[in-house]
């Protein structure tokens, strides 16, 4: 009857030892200065900002960048609109908020005014200057909104990037003049790498190539030293002394914001590359661009550097690949930054500091002490109230705690106060599971059942209840994880892991312990 018992006991012991080694031993080792193997050290449970502190970065969002993008695209839209009515003045962006139109013919003035009203009137003020020249300046309220939006968008993008980096709960706050951000990263070891990922603008653009690759001088010569207003010269990604430059269209029909998925992969030569898929709205745009320009070259520009310029061999609609001198790591980083979206503006790093835990060492010590006191009280009560059966409950609860810590460490989760809240709830549910089972066994014994039958009935009847409570909580946790952020996610993660662990410990471990006791001797009455 108990032929599997030995294997069950052995596997339970093995599980305990493994998770103890992963989750608990490195912590004890750090505290009591015991030797901890390198492999375990690197896996040790990461503590969040509130428990351990981390790195604080102060960065300025250069919102001028975002304004310049808007101004440039408005100027280009005006140029395109004027071209349809055969007016071709010089249009130059003169500052992030202004652009200038020169050489509007006297006799076409009213036509120009109508066209410019249509394109720019909502966002720009138009000032006439002498000699057919106009200056367009962004309206102050639009400027304010744009700057505001740029900072907001930057915060959200950084949040997404940091979350992907595996730093689970970053804290990002605006400060003082509203264009500075205070970013706290818990448990970060490679600050330079984190800064690089946070700070990468990741403005991805697909632009048609007009000429190149060649040196800058050669390209300018082709245009008699005077580049048309709708074209620009961009450097290749190697773009320094090697001197490969391209002449491309200024306006990018498809940009990074049209991407739906970006993931690292390999190209046809087995070199690292980034694969992407387009959003439903982006696919037709890309299809049109590639379909109408078969045989031409398409520049893939990242932050105004051309990574590669493949030939368009056919219509491409919803997916493609960016290759060009990546390492596996840089392809990975690029995919990550593309997925999280472009920053609307570049960042300037102002300051970088190490901060201590926000909870404070004493608070943490007090919290740990209080938790241990609480655990002792619970275990003590179980032993007194349920007598020998209380040992089962105590073992199940301690296993629960150890496996939960080990799993979290193994999964690389970050431990913060909300995570601890998840712990408290898991322990509460764990106590409840044991109490439910024991109370049920008592009922069965009171109904004149034998010890073995009572135990079996207790476990099997309570199983359905436990499944209901655990599945309901798991559903809640799944929604919290999916839609919540930072701390709410931390809570949901701990809770979900805890619920699975609890089913294992309170049912499987506890039942196996009963089986073990019953296998050794005939038990006339259960100590419960």
């Amino acid at each position: 009857m108990y032929k599997n018992l030995r294997w069950k006991l052995l596997s339970i012991a093995a599980v305990f030892v493994v998770f103890f080694a992963v989750g608990v031993y490195p912590m004890l080792g750090a505290h009591f200065h015991l030797p901890v193997p390198e492999a375990l050290q690197s896996r040790a449970l990461k503590l969040g900002l509130d428990l351990k502190g981390g790195v604080e970065l102060r960065m300025r969002v250069n919102t001028d960048d975002a304004l310049k993008t808007t101004t440039t695209s408005t100027a280009e839209a005006l140029r395109a609109s004027l071209a349809t009515s055969n007016i071709t003045p010089m249009i130059n962006v003169t500052s992030p908020m202004t652009f200038r139109v020169e050489g509007v013919p006297q006799d076409r003035d009213s036509q120009f005014r109508t066209a410019s009203d249509e394109v720019t009137a909502t966002d720009y003020d138009r000032n006439p200057l002498p000699a057919g020249t106009y200056e367009f300046k962004m309206k102050p309220n639009i400027e304010r909104d744009q700057r505001e939006q740029a900072v907001d968008q930057t915060m959200q993008t950084i949040d997404r990037r940091v979350n992907e980096l595996g730093v689970v709960e970053p804290s990002i706050a605006r400060q003082s003049n509203n264009e500075e951000l205070l970013i706290q990263l818990p448990g970060v070891s490679d600050v330079a790498h984190a800064k690089e990922i946070i700070g990468k603008t990741a403005q991805l653009e697909f632009k048609l190539v007009e000429a190149g690759p060649a040196s800058k001088e050669d390209l300018l010569k082709q245009y008699n030293g005077n580049l048309p207003g709708d074209l620009e010269i961009l450097p290749g990604s190697g773009g320094d002394a090697t001197g490969a430059f391209y002449v491309v269209k200024k306006i990018a029909p498809v940009t990074g914001s049209d991407l739906r998925v970006a993931k690292p992969g390999l190209d046809e030569n087995n070199q690292p590359a980034v694969h992407f898929e387009l959003k439903p709205a982006g696919a037709p745009k890309f299809g049109k661009l590639s379909g109408e320009n078969i045989g031409r070259y398409l520049a893939i520009a990242l932050d105004n550097k051309i990574i590669s310029a493949p030939r368009l061999d056919g219509r491409i609609t919803d997916q493609g690949r960016i290759s060009g001198g990546f390492t596996a790591e840089s392809a990975n980083d690029l995919a990550l930054t593309l997925r999280s979206g472009a920053l609307p503006a570049s960042l300037t790093s102002l300051e970088e500091n190490v901060v201590g835990p926000s909870l404070g060492a004493d608070s943490i010590r007090a919290g740990v002490l209080a938790s241990l006191v609480g655990l002792m009280l619970i275990l003590g009560f179980m032993l007194v109230y349920y007598k020998l059966s209380g040992i089962n409950a105590a073992v199940a609860l301690i296993f629960n705690l150890v496996i939960l810590l080990g799993l979290m460490a193994y999964l690389g989760a970050t431990m913060t106060l909300p995570g601890i809240a998840g712990f408290v709830l898991t322990m509460g549910v764990g106590v409840d599971s044991n109490v439910l089972i024991f109370e049920r066994i008592k009922e069965e014994i009171a109904a004149q059942r034998g010890v073995r039958a009572a135990i079996n009935a207790g476990f099997s009847r309570v199983l359905m209840t436990l499944l209901d409570t655990h599945v309901a909580s798991l559903i809640a946790a799944a929604f919290l994880f999916q839609f919540g952020t930072g701390p709410i996610r931390g809570f949901a993660t701990t809770l979900s892991i805890g619920l699975f662990v609890n089913l294992f410990t309170s049912i499987f471990v506890s039942k196996t312990l009963y089986d073990f006791e019953l296998s050794r001797r005939q038990v006339p009455a259960l100590s419960i």
């Binding site: 990002i172 706050a173 605006r174 400060q175 003082s176 509203n178 205070l182 500091n353 190490v354 901060v355 201590g356 926000s358 909870l359 404070g360 060492a361 004493d362 608070s363 007090a366 919290g367 002490l369 209080a370 938790s371 006191v373 609480g374 009280l377 009560f381 109230y385 349920y386 007598k387 106060l417 909300p418 601890i420 809240a421 998840g422 408290v424 709830l425 509460g428 106590v431 409840d432 109370e439 008592k442 009922e443 009171a446 109904a447 009847r461 359905m464 209840t465 209901d468 409570t469 309901a472 909580s473 559903i475 809640a476 929604f479 919290l480 839609f483 952020t485 701390p487 709410i488 809770l495």
Partner: protein, 341 residues
């Protein structure tokens, strides 16, 4: 060992009293929040950071204790190069106008430190002149909330979806009235806890939010356990009316409810008394929430099922075969008499 020997309390009789009591507390809470507002922690409202450089490495908890209200609502962290003994203190700065608040808040922080014997720190109007000057304010700045409007909305959305998911699951596993009862009970617990937070002027911080999530989970667990017993009794006590069935279920589970609730409460009370100032808000919320959660699964969740079902006869599918041998030889017990002691 039993806490109650064959309990047979008529819980159902008190359902309207309980609902009235809950309404009183919730409305009082709404009134207080309406008139005084729900105080929010620096994570939600933003505030001022004052960087203070001490002569000696300071004891952060003494620094925290020196701040108004024991620093329960401030964030105190060691900062930068350890050799400079710098501490970053983040506090509210809501009452004052933005321009004035920066220096005012810095001055009041310095004053609080000095009166508590952590100084003498030079007035905040004098910023540390060089990296080697100590006992001075080395920086101050205003920061926005770390939990912005977007994150708050997402948090609320997440909670609403989670409740919706639970509603569907319980409606599927039990019946619709049970699902309504569970969700109403959960919302009830959140509202009551918020009311108590407002009565005792605890700020809504991230720690408190974590505690609110925890009690939601706890209350849900408690409610489903009792529902499960009601469902089981509906099969074994088919001749009885629903009120009797509910009563007997609650009575049968009373030992378990007391033990689980009591033990969880015990560990949270330990946290409240020994967990330090920073964890007080968390522990307080948990204490209120656990009591409310236990109360609501007995008095609110079950009562709503009763009220919803009205006097309509309870239709039950033919007794489902549970564990083999179960139910056989077991008389249909009257309420609360099942447990022989």
């Amino acid at each position: 060992m039993h806490i109650f020997k064959s309990p047979n309390f008529d819980f159902v009789r008190w359902k309207w009293h309980a609902i009235a009591l809950s309404w009183v507390i919730i409305l009082a809470g709404v009134f207080v929040i309406w008139t005084k507002g729900m105080p929010k922690g620096v994570e939600f409202s933003g505030g001022t950071i004052v960087l203070v450089r001490f002569q000696q490495p300071p004891d952060l908890d003494r620094v925290r204790g020196a701040l108004p209200g024991g620093g329960a609502n401030a964030v105190v962290q060691s900062y930068g190069d350890p050799a400079r003994h710098e501490v970053s203190i983040r506090v509210h700065s809501r009452e004052v106008e933005a321009g004035a608040s920066l220096s005012n808040t810095a001055e009041s922080v310095v004053e609080a430190l000095n009166t508590n014997g952590l100084g003498p720190i030079a007035p905040a109007s004098h910023l540390c002149a060089s990296p080697t000057e100590f006992n001075c304010v080395s920086g101050r700045r205003i920061v926005g909330p770390t939990v912005g409007a977007e994150l708050q909305q997402r948090g609320i959305l997440a909670t609403v979806f989670a409740l919706g998911g639970i509603l569907v699951y319980i409606a599927f596993r039990f019946r619709f009235s049970f699902a309504v009862g569970a969700v109403v009970a959960t919302i009830h617990d959140l509202l009551i806890t918020l009311a108590f937070l407002a009565f005792f002027k605890h700020e809504l911080s991230l720690n408190v939010i974590a505690a609110l999530l925890t009690i939601t989970g706890y209350s849900m667990n408690d409610t489903i356990v009792i529902y499960d017993r009601i469902r089981e009794n509906m099969r074994s006590m088919r001749r009885d009316n629903l009120a009797t069935i509910v009563n007997s279920a609650v009575n049968q589970m009373l030992d378990r409810t007391m033990i689980t609730g009591g033990l969880t409460l015990l560990s949270v009370i330990a946290l409240f008394f020994f967990g330090g100032e920073v964890l007080k808000g968390f522990a307080f919320t948990m204490i209120v929430g656990i009591i409310t959660g236990t109360y609501s699964s007995v008095f609110i969740a079950a009562a709503i099922v009763l009220i919803w079902q009205g006097k309509a006869p309870v239709k039950v599918a033919p007794a489902a075969p549970v564990a083999p041998g179960r139910a056989a030889g077991k008389p249909a017990n009257k309420s609360g008499k099942r447990r022989a002691s």
